[in-house]
């Protein structure tokens, strides 16, 4: 059984078009990020968060007015996976965990008949929030650096640059798409928390995985087909690995979609980021990572081929 017969697609020929498309997608995502943004999760924000289970569907506006009356700052109220489960979040922190205790008491008073029980309670101090944000930032930067060094060392330096350019592309596109989808359905409430960072890093790992497989084939083919240009070698390699790329991405895609749909509330954002990330990761291995390497090599070749001769006028043949 075989989905793909031998293919001869000219991947590299249309790379300029795809650059433009990628750029457009990133721009749209960035605009959405700038305007709409993605909220930080409790672990990065700091504050107090409660997940409360009610025995009957509570009126969210009533909860909101309750919180307002109690004087909590910047309260966020949303359902948590199930209409009976409500997530309450406030920036207020107070000494120790007093805020959570007060909210619990107020809930008991306001909804005595709906038996509000706290399923999960989190309090994060402001310092921890700031630290986790910093750690997350470093984690992403360091992994990109480490990947650049490793790939650059195993292949050539420009390959490392190409791989990292693809990863930047993946992270930006995924963040943009998350920002656009965020809040559109009650099923897709996303936020940037530690799980999301973990998803982004995993996506980085899986995407570079794909890129490396392609690079590996390019390296191999360069040794075999010494007379072919890099463009031709790349197209050949991409066609040869296409089947594997799509099968692997396909199986990972199945797995992450399942995580997204059935993995529970905690894994949902994680699953979505990965699901989308697999698509862009597969695409970027071809149209960003390989294409960047190709364009750089062509530029180097052009520089070498055309030494500037000072003070000499020459006739150049026009290519037919």
């Amino acid at each position: 059984m075989r989905f793909f017969k031998e293919t001869h697609i000219d991947f590299m020929g249309k790379r300029r078009t795809w650059y433009m498309i990628s750029l457009a997608v990133i721009m749209v995502g960035m605009i959405s990020l700038a305007i709409k943004g993605i909220g930080f999760g409790i672990d990065f924000l700091g504050g107090t968060e409660l997940i409360v289970q009610f025995s009957a569907e509570p009126d969210v506006s009533q909860i909101r007015s309750m919180m307002d009356n109690a004087g909590y700052r910047n309260v966020e109220i949303k359902t948590y996976g199930d209409p009976l489960r409500i997530l309450l979040r406030t920036e207020s922190q107070g000494e120790g965990t007093t805020v959570a205790d007060q909210i619990k008491a107020t809930l008991q008073q306001t909804f005595p008949n709906m038996n509000p029980t706290v399923l999960e309670e989190t309090k994060i101090g402001p310092k921890i929030g700031a630290e986790l944000r910093k750690d997350a930032f470093y984690a992403i930067i360091f992994s990109l650096l480490a990947i650049m060094i490793y790939v650059g060392f195993r292949f050539k330096f420009i390959y490392g640059i190409g791989a990292v350019a693809a990863l930047f592309h993946d992270v930006l596109v995924t963040l943009g798409v998350i920002s656009i989808i965020d809040g559109i359905t009650p099923f897709t409430n996303f936020e940037i928390d530690q799980n999301m960072i973990a998803a982004l890093l995993t996506l980085v790992g899986l995407s570079v995985n794909d890129t490396v497989v392609i690079f590996d084939r390019i390296r191999e083919n360069q040794k075999i087909y010494k007379t072919l240009s890099l463009t031709e070698v790349m197209n050949k390699s991409l066609n040869q690995t296409l089947s594997r790329t799509l099968i692997t991405s396909g199986t990972i895609f199945i797995v992450t979609v399942i995580l997204f749909l059935f993995g529970g509330e905690v894994n949902r954002g994680f699953g979505f980021a990965l699901t989308f990330g697999i698509i862009t990761g597969t695409y970027s291995s071809i149209y960003i990572a390989s294409a960047v390497v190709l364009d750089y090599s062509n530029w180097r070749l052009a520089k070498k081929a055309k030494p500037v001769m000072k003070g000499k006028t020459v006739y150049e043949p026009i290519a037919q």
């Binding site: 059984m1 075989r2 989905f3 997940i51 289970q53 120790g96 965990t97 959570a100 205790d101 706290v118 399923l119 999960e120 309670e121 989190t122 309090k123 994060i124 101090g125 921890i128 750690d135 997350a136 470093y138 984690a139 992994s143 480490a146 490793y150 530690q194 799980n195 960072i197 973990a198 890093l201 995993t202 980085v204 790992g205 899986l206 570079v208 995985n209 794909d210 490396v212 497989v213 590996d216 040869q240 690995t241 089947s243 594997r244 099968i247 692997t248 199986t251 990972i252 199945i254 797995v255 992450t256 399942i258 995580l259 749909l261 059935f262 993995g263 529970g264 894994n267 994680f270 990965l274």
Partner: protein, 646 residues
């Protein structure tokens, strides 16, 4: 077959080991299942019958993270600045200004609080010696001293927290030090937040209490035992009326004065008491069951009287029975038998171990504390130069020293317990009256024991305040939901992947699937064997590992198909396929592994769980997907079987 014998053996060995490591998890699961099906007395009986086996299984199973089983995770931070403020002398306005500036700057700065304080003092041209140490000390010497002080303050805070959690009785608590001054406490299955917070944050209470008269306690315990056995209680034992003997002794000031650095010897073998626990004399001839019936109390709380020696008033109980003894002592009909001036306290650490059981000592002490830890100015564990044995020296302030002289003077040859948060760390015997406040405690078994006592004595004197900076508590029902969803989605992903592989790669796919099972088995076994913790993101990591493992096989099989297409024989195609796919698999997995390492380094809690399973998974899958499938194929090829790759 022959050339692969070594590899096959390794695989069989790993599979065997994995089953061995996972067996407790299976046992634990079946115990829990069995328990759920039982109700009321049946379940209690079941627990009693299988107590030991259940405990062992629980200890060795795959641990579940707090997000899966419910519980609390608290991150505490020792407030070093507050501590430095507390121990400073001559606090003037200038000093308070500096403290406030340091507080503001420490919010954003990476610098150690002590260094920050040192720098600020220098900037303001204030000498550290003015507030700490003595005037002759150099400033850097003082700052270095303060640095040491804060380190030991953090250790003290950890010891206090550990002690309290031990007393509270949480199963499998985890207490870790993170960085210089953070303590991460994980309490699985705990839901009473208020209590726990109190437990973690309240100030440590160090008390000195005199042990209750063993003669009276011996009668009390016999009465309790008789009452539990349903026997009539001798009227003369109505101890509530005999609570006078000790008050007389307290006023006894005629004890002869001794040196200022008197010694308090720590020995549990003390003056012979003529009240023996006669009822236990004939225990040797009875079976444990009979003994249990006749002496229900002493069967679990053993006085352990040494022949020809007095009884110092302690009962010894194995760790598992501590709760039972507490419950007995709380019963209203038993409480009537206990003098009103008595309170009970357990030893903080095990007293001794016998037959694999840890025994704790139960002490009866006077309810009123003689002295609290606030009077202690210094405590230090050292080695006695004369006898080369570990000792602890203790100094008190003037007020404390005066009281201490009175207390020791009137309680010569009695034991005074050192109690931190209601746990007894030591109960030395008073050798003589101690005036001047300098005491020495001897008789410790090891330097560690002395060091611990030093920490305990200081804990009462210089409390290091701790702040809760992060707290997460997950209810058990949310945890159960998470497990269900996690397992449900893993199985679904596994099933779909397996079906696809068979469908797409036929025989090759089937072989890959078999190996995939081994892969999952090895992963779970490694988690169990290395006491790793499975979290919800960890489950996501396992699912992703499957995808990575399958990818390795996809790479190989695609390569084999390509090689076959060039007209190679099956055996040659398989060989080249594996060979050529290897670098791609290795490089690509290594980059994923690198991100795993970085994630583990920077993430916290559940995210680390994810990174850990991902890293384990990558290593294992390289092994199973490359070596495992290869072995199966070469065996099949040797036997002349035709393998199709779809």
């Amino acid at each position: 077959m022959k050339k692969n014998r070594g590899k096959i053996l390794i695989f069989l060995l790993f599979t065997g080991l994995s089953l061995y490591f996972l067996y407790p998890t299976y046992k634990d699961y079946s115990f829990t299942k069995e328990l759920r099906s039982l109700v009321g007395d049946d379940s209690l009986k079941y627990v009693e019958q299988n107590e030991e086996a259940m405990r062992v299984a629980r200890l060795k199973r795959v641990k579940l993270g707090l997000d899966l089983q419910g519980g609390m995770r608290v991150v505490l931070e020792v407030n070093v600045l507050k501590y430095l403020e507390d121990i400073a002398k001559n606090k003037d306005e200038q000093f308070m200004n500096v403290i406030n500036e340091v507080r503001a700057e420490s919010q954003t700065s990476e610098e150690e609080v002590v260094d920050l304080l040192g720098r600020k003092l220098q900037q303001k041209q204030l000498r550290a010696a003015r507030y700490y140490g003595s005037i002759r000390d150099e400033d850097d010497v003082i700052i270095q001293k303060l640095r040491d002080e804060t380190v030991s303050a953090v250790d003290r805070a950890i010891e206090i927290v550990r002690n309290r959690i031990d007393q509270y009785g949480v199963s499998e608590p985890s207490i870790q030090k993170q960085g210089g001054r953070r303590i991460i406490v994980e309490l699985p299955g705990v839901s009473k937040e208020g209590e726990v917070r109190q437990l973690l944050q309240g100030t440590a209470l160090l008390e000195f209490k005199i042990l209750y008269d063993p003669e009276i306690m011996s009668k009390v315990y016999q009465a309790i035992d008789a009452s539990l056995a349903g026997k009539p209680i001798d009227d003369s034992l109505n101890v509530n009326k005999t609570d006078t003997s000790t008050t007389a002794a307290a006023n006894d000031t005629t004890a002869k004065p001794v040196d200022t650095t008197s010694t308090v010897a720590q020995t549990d073998t003390n003056k012979p008491a003529d009240t023996s626990l006669a009822t236990l004399d004939d225990q040797a001839e009875k079976t444990p069951e009979e003994l249990k019936k006749e002496h229900p109390f002493f069967a679990i709380a053993n006085p352990m009287q040494q022949p020809n020696q007095g009884w110092s008033g302690q009962l010894f109980t194995i760790e598992e029975d501590k709760g039972k003894v507490n419950r007995i002592l709380e019963k209203p009909e038993i409480k009537q038998l206990i003098p009103s001036g008595v309170s009970f306290a357990w030893s903080a650490k095990k007293s001794f171990t016998a037959e694999g059981k840890n025994f704790f000592a139960l002490y009866a002490v006077k309810k009123e504390a003689e002295l609290t830890g606030g009077v202690i100015t210094e405590a230090r564990a050292t080695i006695d130069p004369n006898f080369n044995t570990p000792i602890v020296t203790m100094e008190m302030n003037t007020e404390g020293a005066r009281e201490w002289a009175r207390i020791t003077g009137s309680n010569i040859n009695k034991q005074i317990a050192i109690i931190l948060d209601n746990a007894i760390f030591s109960a030395p015997v008073v050798r003589g009256k101690i005036t001047g406040g300098n005491s020495q405690i001897e008789g410790m078994e090891s330097v560690e024991e002395a060091k611990l006592l030093e920490i305990v004595l200081k804990a009462g004197a210089l409390p290091a305040p701790v702040d809760i900076i992060q707290q997460t508590s997950v209810g058990p029902s949310l945890g159960e939901d998470s497990i269900k969803q996690g397992i449900y989605s893993s199985l679904m992903a596994l099933l779909l992947t397996i079906v696809f592989m068979i469908f797409y790669y036929r025989m090759g796919g089937t072989v890959a699937d078999v190996v995939l099972f081994l892969n999952m088995l090895f992963m779970l076994a490694i988690l169990a064997g290395f006491q790793g913790t499975l979290t919800l993101p960890g489950i996501a990591g396992i699912i992703l590992t499957m995808a990575v493992a399958v990818d390795a096989n996809v790479l190989i099989y695609e390569r084999i198909r390509e090689e076959s297409a060039t007209g190679k024989t099956l055996s040659a195609a398989v060989d080249t396929g594996y060979e050529k796919a290897f670098t791609a698999i290795f490089d690509s997995n290594l980059t994923t592994f690198i991100t795993g390492v970085i994630l583990y380094q920077f993430g916290s809690g559940p995210v680390q769980g994810f990174a850990l399973t991902l890293m384990i998974g990558i290593v294992i899958s390289m092994f199973t997907a490359i070596v495992g499938t290869r072995i199966i194929f070469s065996i099949m090829l040797e036997r002349g079987k035709v393998i199709n790759f779809g």
